[in-house]
């Protein structure tokens, strides 16, 4: 069995479970972003008009797409993966087969990114219907960005998962990282609105780079620093993967 086949076996297990509850899962994944788009995009958009030179709905839609990719991958990489690792001993069962922890962690990350892709595809369609996409001809490029963002946030989530003593631990991660990224990385307003120091901090956070890549693909804003943004997301994904494998090994292979 080669490495891709081993990773895919893990991915496939999660996919088969998801398929059983796909409708409920999809509704859950895109209900929240839909409400944001409707409530803030329409409601707030009426007062704001334009932001960063484009209609607020378009500005927000690209941001919400990225934050949804983050949230979906994060939840999957924290709660669901932790349940499989620590509660159901699914990983332990896999480790009695030719699968190793590097395969299992990679399969989990790949699956979480796939979930981001699935839910963000639905959100993208809704965003188009609500007028949040100005440039439909490049909008499909949003999907690879979503997938890469999914890999990035899933890998970080698996690091936290491998460290967590229990579910309560995840609150710290949300309060210290996920929520600040949601609020300060350009989802709702341009980074330029932040004080300089805060902008510097935002520049090292992955969501900033996901949004910076995504927004020009869906709007008329110019696309810049593509290589940098891709590199930051890929670096977080790779570093997260390596660290998650190391931490999970320390935890499980005693």
């Amino acid at each position: 069995m080669n490495t891709p086949a081993r990773i895919l076996a893990v991915w496939r297990r999660n996919f088969l479970v998801w398929r059983k509850l796909a409708v409920a899962s999809l509704l859950g994944n895109f209900g929240d972003p839909f409400l944001y788009l409707l409530g803030l995009g329409y409601g707030l958009g009426l007062y704001i008009g334009k932001m960063g030179g484009i209609p607020y709905m378009a500005f927000l839609a690209s941001g919400i797409l990225c934050s949804s990719a983050m949230n979906t991958a994060t939840f999957e990489g924290l709660y669901s993966a932790f349940t499989r690792m620590n509660q159901q001993y699914t990983w332990e069962g896999m480790m009695a087969t030719p699968l190793g922890l590097p395969d299992i962690v990679a399969g989990e990350i790949l699956w979480a990114a796939t979930k981001s892709l699935i839910s963000c595809t639905a959100i993208l369609i809704v965003a188009m219907l609500l007028g949040g996409v100005q440039t439909p001809e490049t909008a499909w490029l949003a999907l690879p960005v979503v997938f890469l963002s999914g890999l990035c946030f899933a890998a970080i989530a698996l690091v936290v998962c491998a460290l967590a003593p229990g579910y309560d631990f995840f609150i710290y991660y949300f309060t210290l990282l996920v929520t600040p990224m949601f609020l300060f990385c350009g989802v709702f307003y341009p980074l330029a609105a932040l004080p300089h120091a805060a902008q510097m901090i935002a520049q090292v956070l992955p969501l900033t780079h996901a949004v910076a890549l995504m927004r020009p693909l869906l709007t008329t804003l110019p696309l810049t620093h593509v290589g940098l943004h891709l590199a930051v997301l890929a670096a977080y994904a790779a570093a997260g993967y390596v660290l998650a494998v190391r931490l999970a090994s320390r935890r499980l292979l005693r």
Partner: protein
């Protein structure tokens, strides 16, 4: 031994300062059922986890089919039934087998008929579509055993396969394990049920504090470590009373809680004396593996 399925030479496991497996040597020949006995904390599970690569070996040479223990590819030839069920609760009974097969690279087309055979083997054919959560403890164990066979392994490792099961469930599992042996599989099992070891194992190894105390077939162990017969005495005998009862007889005595165990080559003289003592409860029986185990590992309670 080059044809050994498992070979251990000076295998050690340390957790920090604490040494839980202290340099053990043993070989497991193909086709036998090899039992690892020992009280809780003796190092049985650690030996198994190291063999499967779930715990790094701290020292020594530990091989499985001639490859270092934990080698990923070699696990394709091994089936594992861990102490705790780790069935996939998100899948039905049948799906558990087919999904698990995929971890070995076995495609569903090939896995499906094999899963049906294994469900029949585990007497779970009627429950193929049931969720795992609806199974009884005995059924879950049988499914675990069926799952461990999905890759048609040469070696099946079972960590306390019948702990917590009722007698009917236990006998059914024993019968299945004997079937496996007949099919030429090598079995390694840990247990602290002496009856289980006696019923199933061709060779045994008794562990305590990470060291091997004794090894051999159940019969050899009994011959080497205990007399053939024992009389258990109960019922308010004073030490002096027991002394009086056993006077001039060739006996080895042990006192545990309210019971005296009197071991002898021939216990008949003691039995006839006991018959004359009013109110004395006594049991005369052949010795078994439990007597060996208690003799080797002591009778104090362990937690």
């Amino acid at each position: 031994m080059s044809d050994a399925v498992v070979s251990a030479r000076g295998v050690q496991k340390r957790f920090g300062e604490r040494e839980v497996v202290c340099g053990v040597d043993f070989d497991i020949r193909p086709g036998i059922c090899f039992g690892i006995l020992g009280p809780n904390g003796a190092g049985k599970t650690t030996l198994i986890r190291m063999l499967l690569g779930m715990s790094p070996v701290s020292g020594g040479v530990y091989t499985l089919f001639g490859r270092p223990a934990g080698d990923r590819e070699i696990r394709a030839r091994v089936g594992v039934v861990p102490q705790m069920d780790n069935l996939d609760p998100d899948f039905s009974v049948r799906e558990n087998l087919v999904v698990y097969a995929r971890y070995f690279g076995i495609a569903p087309r090939e896995a499906a008929p094999r899963a049906e055979e294994l469900l029949a083997f585990a007497e779970l054919s009627q429950r193929g579509d049931s969720p795992v959560s609806s199974l009884s403890g005995g059924m879950k164990r049988r499914l675990m055993i069926a799952r461990s066979l999905i890759n048609d392994p040469d070696l099946v490792v079972l960590d306390e396969p019948t702990t917590g099961l009722d007698p009917q469930a236990r006998h059914l599992i024993w019968q299945r394990l004997r079937d496996l042996k007949r099919r030429g599989k090598t079995l390694v099992l840990t247990t602290h049920y002496m009856e289980e070891a006696e019923q199933l194992c061709d060779e045994l190894m008794v562990l305590e504090h990470g060291r091997i105390l004794a090894r051999g077939s159940p019969r050899e162990l009994m011959r080497a470590h205990v007399e053939p017969e024992v009389v258990e005495l109960r019922g308010g005998l004073s030490d002096a009373g027991v002394e009086e009862l056993c006077r001039n007889l060739e006996l080895r005595r042990e006192h545990v809680a309210d019971t005296w165990f009197c071991y002898a080559e021939d216990a008949r003289p003691l039995v006839s004396r006991c018959a004359g003592v009013p109110g004395l409860i006594f049991v005369h029986r052949p010795t078994n593996l439990e007597d060996v185990f208690l003799r080797l590992t002591g009778r104090e309670l362990r937690d």
